[in-house]
Each structure stands twice: as C-alpha cells, then as structure tokens.
C-alpha cells in the first residue's frame, strides 16, 4: 500500500486557497475541472497536469455529456486525477481501479468509463486485474501513466522502471526487465493499444477519443516526466522532458516486441493496435440477459 506524504501540502493548499483563474485558452475545459481544489498536489513540471488538460479536452470533444463520463483511479500521484476532474470520479484502493470500473460499466453500460492511474497501480499491484480485464475485452478506457517509478512514495523501483535505472530500491541499478505494456496488452486481447507522451497532446487527444469510441478494452500508455525519477537518476528534469519530447519516434506499425523502453534506444510511440471487430464483454453479458428473457 502506498502511503501519501501530501498532508502538509494539502493543508497548505487549504490555507492559501484563493480562486484560481484559468487562462482564456482553457475556458472550454473549465467546467470539467474542480478548480476549487487547485493547486494540485503534483510537483512543478510534472506531466500529470498536461494529461488532465488533454483528458478534459477529450471529454469536451467526445460529444458524450460529462454526466455520462466516469473516471476511476487507484492510488498514487496519477490516482488524484479522479478528484480534479468534474465528472463522477472514484479514487479507490491501490491497484483496484479496474475491477471497480468493471462493476460500474456492467451496472450501467451506457456510461463511458475510464480508468486513469499510474503504472505501479495498474500493472504492478493491479496487474492481475489488468490482464483479465483485457482478456475479457470489457469496454473500459485504461490510461496508464508511465513515469517509470513510484513517485508518491519517494521513488522506488516499479515494474516499468527501465533496466539499469536507479531508484531508492535499486541503488545499484534496476536488475529487472520492465514490462513492454503494448505487447502485454496485445497478448491479453485488448482492442485498442497506443503509447504517447503527455507532450504529444494532439496525438494523445486523438487516441483518447478513439478509446472512447471503441467498444472494447483500450489501453493508452502515456509517458510522463517525474521529478522524482529525474532526481534519483541524477538528471535535470529538463533533460527528462527533452528525452520524452525528442528521443521518441512515431511508428504505428512497429513490431510490438520492439517496444520495450530502454535508455539506449529511441522510444517508439503510436497507435499500435486497433481491433474493432471483437465484441466487448459488457455487450455479451447483456446479449445473454436478452436471450434468457431478463427484464
């Protein structure tokens, strides 16, 4: 279980609370943000604010009314997104956002349910739920923020930490292979698989809109700079941002086996998999209800 060390910060934000004005370019997304909770708990230069903005824009563009959108998050920095976005938002236990979202989707299939959480939450502690939800192909939009580390708890090694990277629990360099998330999602049967960074906002927006549209399990891995990761690896935050902005290569048709992230090769981005023909699990469940004559 991650523990939150945000107490003083939260208290400070309550104490220094004043109404925050958003720049005019954000007027369209303002009704979708819980501005009264700003400033967020996120560090300066963290990528999560960009994701929040892009996701809010996607809700606006989706033509699905905000009251039909639901966001479920687990624990961690990213988990706080469910509390900053003004749709029905649930901030649940560590690693369990996907099964909670599964319950919502099956109880009210007309809702557009998105899971937004970190890599540690979704594929480490919640890895079992992730693979099974993908296998079922339930219609959820899973946005996995990959910052390569456990940020909130102080920078420990995660299942997406690149080999050799230094963390509080791998001071001599990470000995483990990181997950290749697009390959994992594909092997489990996901309907839509993409990888972008928070800086590729146009492409990310497009990917989120596709995830909304596709009736099936969608996975978008979003790479995001983390100040904790930068610091543990003796990098300037700007260097990390530069890597994510420039050392990336878009290749929608890249072989999935080659998508493992490693420091010595460019990071490949793209919309890798789109399988629209597969029926979603929730559809099959309701087909059965119809068939056996339920009300």
């Amino acid at each position: 279980m991650e523990t939150s060390n945000t107490k003083t910060f939260e208290e400070e934000s309550v104490a220094t609370y004043k109404k925050i004005e958003l720049p005019p370019i954000y007027k369209d997304i303002e009704p979708l943000l819980r501005i009264e909770r700003f400033p967020t708990i996120w560090c300066p230069a963290c990528g999560l604010g960009l994701l929040l903005k892009t996701f809010a824009k996607a809700i606006v563009k989706s033509k699905i009314p905000p009251e039909k959108h639901v966001v479920v998050s687990g624990i961690g920095c990213t988990g706080r997104i469910a509390g900053y976005i003004r749709v029905d938002g649930y901030h649940v236990t560590h690693g369990r956002a996907i099964p909670f979202a599964t319950g919502i989707k099956l109880a009210k299939p007309e809702l557009e349910v998105s899971v937004i959480s970190g890599d540690g939450d979704i594929v480490s502690i919640g890895g079992n739920h992730f693979i099974h939800a993908a296998r079922r192909n339930i219609d959820l939009n899973v946005i996995v923020i990959n910052n390569f580390i456990y940020g909130m708890t102080g920078g420990q090694l995660g299942s997406t930490t690149p080999k050799g990277a230094k963390t509080m629990t791998s001071p001599y360099g990470n000995l483990e292979e990181p997950f290749n998330l697009p390959l994992l999602a594909h092997a489990c049967g996901a309907s839509f698989i993409a990888r972008w960074t928070v800086f590729h906002d146009t492409q990310l927006l497009d990917a989120i809109l596709r995830a909304f549209e596709i009736k099936g399990f969608s996975v978008i891995e979003v790479l995001s700079p983390c100040a904790i990761f930068a610091e543990r690896n003796n990098m300037k935050m700007l260097e990390l941002i530069k890597i994510l902005r420039t050392k990336t290569k878009v290749d929608h048709n890249a072989p999935l086996e080659e998508l493992t992230i490693s420091p010595d090769k460019p990071i490949i981005l793209g919309n890798f998999v789109e399988r629209r023909e597969k029926p979603s699990f929730d559809k099959l469940v309701f087909d059965i209800i119809k068939r056996v004559g339920g009300e």
Partner: protein, 386 residues
C-alpha cells in the same frame, strides 16, 4: 417479479435459499470467485441472474470480486458477493473502502475451518472477529448469523435492507453446515417482504454543485450514483462533506465518528437474539449459527434432567447485544455463562468483557466439527456439578 421464486414452501439447500433471497431483496449484480463451501451460491446466480435481468460475473480473485461489487453499488445497483474465510481475508482492504465510501454491499461468508486453507469442506466459526475487525481503521458493520436455510433466506434479505439503509457493508456469516444443509424454506408473499432502498438526493441533478455527497447533517447522507448527474467525487482518503480529500483533524473527527455512529446509535434497533429459559437458569449457554442447534438440543436434555440451563443465541453478531448480557449478568440466579463456539475463543472475549458478576467459561471445539449435543451436555453437567 414473476421470475423470482414464487411464494410457497420449498425444500432447498441453504446456499440456494440465500441466492434466491438476494434476488427477492433486489440484488441485480452478483460477482464472485469460486471457493468451497460457498460456490453453490455463485452457480445458482450464474444461471438465475440473467433471468431476472441482472448481471453475473466471475472475477479473477476475491479482491476483484468485492471491488466490482462496490463499483456496481456506486452505480446504484444492489450487489453482493459470497465467499469463505480465505476469500474474506483477501477482501478486507476493500471492505474498508466500502465503509469509507459508504457503499452498500452484501458479503456472504460461508465459513469453513481455518486458519489458512484449513478444512475447505468442513464448518468453522473462525471469521466472526475477522468480519468485524478485518480492515484497518475504525468502521462498523452489521453481521447476521443464520442457523438453518430458512434463516439464511430471511437474513440475506435483512442484510440487503440494512446495507441500503445505513450505507455499510453487511455480512451474512453462515457456515458450511448451514450453507449445504437442506431444509424447509417458506418464501413469504411479496407483500410481506420489506425491501429498503438507499435514499436519493433531494436536490435535482442540475444543481449538482450544491449537492454534498457526505453532508454531515445526515447520519446517513443521501446517495448519488454514478451517472445520476451529480458529478460526485468519492475517495478512500479522509474527506470532507464535498467528498474532497481533507486530512485535517476536524474532517477526520467528523467523518469517522459519523461512520461508527451509523451503527452504534442504531445498535439497539439492529441487534436481534433469541433467549430460552433465561428467567430461572443458573447457567446460560451462548451459542450462535449452526452450533445453536446443537446447544438447543443439549439444553432440552439437560432441562429434562433437572439442570437449570438456558440459551442466549445472537441472531446478529455485530452489533453484539452487550447491554442484554449486562442485564442477564445482573440477575443473581445466573452464575455462569458458557460460550460454545467452533473456534478457540472469539465471542467469548466479548461476553467476558461485559460480565462482571458471573463466571464466563469457554467451550472451544475443533475447527471443522460441529459440537454434538452430547458434548455440550457433558460440559454443562460438569459445570453444574461444581
């Protein structure tokens, strides 16, 4: 309603009675993971749920099960899961979430012998404390103790009602004997069945900004489901009345006291128990669940032999009727309470904590094995002769 079990008298297994009762109570979301000796509930629900227009799903583990049940509850649908000891252990963190988010859910635990894998196919009563104290932090639950299929049926409906009324996780603590016992089950006319639904906000959804999901002017705040238009936020973090994280002393004090007050202030209305011969008995046997059947028989024989012994049998273990134990303890003619349970002493400690005058003796029994009436009788005789 036509697809529900028709009113009448049936001969059925306890686990099936539980499943049918859940459907009558309005449960339309069943989620589970296979585990002996509760699986019959899931098998039955897999077939029956679509027939009544509800959703059935088998999850990858018990953590997934309880979380999906909570998700469905957050979307406004009555949900349940059934499991046994090891599964309940896995669910504990999420049960704390149910308490914190105030999501109604029914958890049926068909107890087996523990610890660990224990004896999957034999009964146990080792989960009474787990269901009360299993998750970290302070919260209260309501837990029923059926002793036969009829009670398993009735109590499952009551568990749904109390979960909805108080927005809490409610438990039905059956055991292998009750779950797999066949017996007479009377399904009452639907007009006799009381069904409770959670209260809805009195503010229309278009004024969602005025709605406080955790308004402390209520003991149990009205509930807005996902998709109802209130655009609420729920978090497992300590939160204020808006549902926003708030780690201050004031918020913590206000929220957690209300969470426990929901049950504590209603304890006398919720608690239920049976008493036999408590007006003249020297010895009071305290037994619950399937063991209370053996205890009843033992007491009957003892009475025939002239031994003044009575029975106190909680039908609900949490909240435990401690005030009634104190009242009985104040009666001079009662000199011993004998707690019989299939564990090494769980409810014994509760009774001991409230009895000041009389002696409290624990009769434990090997997990897995229902104590026979003769065994209880021999213990009563020993104590009586002292």
């Amino acid at each position: 309603m036509t697809k529900l079990l028709k009113p009448g008298v049936y001969f059925m297994e306890g686990n099936i009675a539980c499943a049918e009762a859940a459907l009558i109570a309005g449960c339309r979301f069943y989620v589970g993971y296979p585990i002996t000796p509760s699986s019959e509930i899931m098998h039955h629900m897999a077939r029956r749920m679509p027939e009544v227009g509800g959703v059935f799903i088998q999850m990858e583990d018990e953590i997934g099960s309880i979380m999906a049940a909570l998700g469905a509850s957050a979307a406004g649908v009555k949900s349940m899961t059934a499991t046994s000891g090891p599964g309940l252990s896995l669910m504990q963190e999420s049960i704390g979430l149910a308490a914190m988010l105030e999501l109604p859910v029914v958890i049926v635990d068909v107890q087996r012998a523990g610890p660990s894998t224990g004896i999957p196919t034999l009964m146990g009563q080792g989960d009474v404390m787990q269901c009360r104290w299993g998750s970290h932090g302070d919260y209260e639950v309501v837990a029923y103790l059926p002793s036969n299929p009829q009670e398993f049926f009735d109590m499952t409906i009551e568990a749904f009602n109390i979960a909805e009324q108080l927005r809490i996780p409610a438990f039905v603590l059956a055991d292998k004997v009750v779950g797999q016992m066949y017996g007479k089950v009377r399904v009452p006319d639907y007009s006799e069945v009381k069904i409770t639904e959670r209260t809805k906000p009195d503010i229309p959804p278009d004024k969602f900004r005025e709605f406080l999901p955790y308004d402390s002017k209520y003991l149990v705040p009205p509930f807005a489901a996902a998709g109802d238009g209130y655009r609420i936020h729920m978090t497992g973090l300590m939160h204020d009345e808006r549902g926003y994280p708030n780690l201050t002393k004031e918020a913590s004090w206000k929220l957690v006291t209300r969470l426990v007050r929901k049950v504590r202030e209603n304890a006398k209305k919720i608690a239920k128990w049976d008493e036999i011969n408590v007006d003249d008995s020297k010895i009071i046997v305290i037994a619950y669940g399937s063991v209370s059947g053996s205890a009843k028989k033992a007491i009957k024989i003892a009475r025939e032999k002239g031994i003044k012994v009575g029975l106190f049998r909680p039908r609900i273990v949490w909240p435990f009727p401690t005030w009634r134990i104190e009242e009985l303890d104040s009666k001079n003619y009662i000199d011993t309470f004998v707690v019989v349970e299939v564990n090494m002493g769980q409810i014994y400690h509760i009774v001991k904590g409230y009895v000041k005058n009389a002696k409290v003796i624990h009769i434990s029994h090997a997990p897995g094995y229902l104590p026979e009436p003769e065994y209880i009788l021999s213990q009563i005789e020993k104590i009586y002769k002292r």
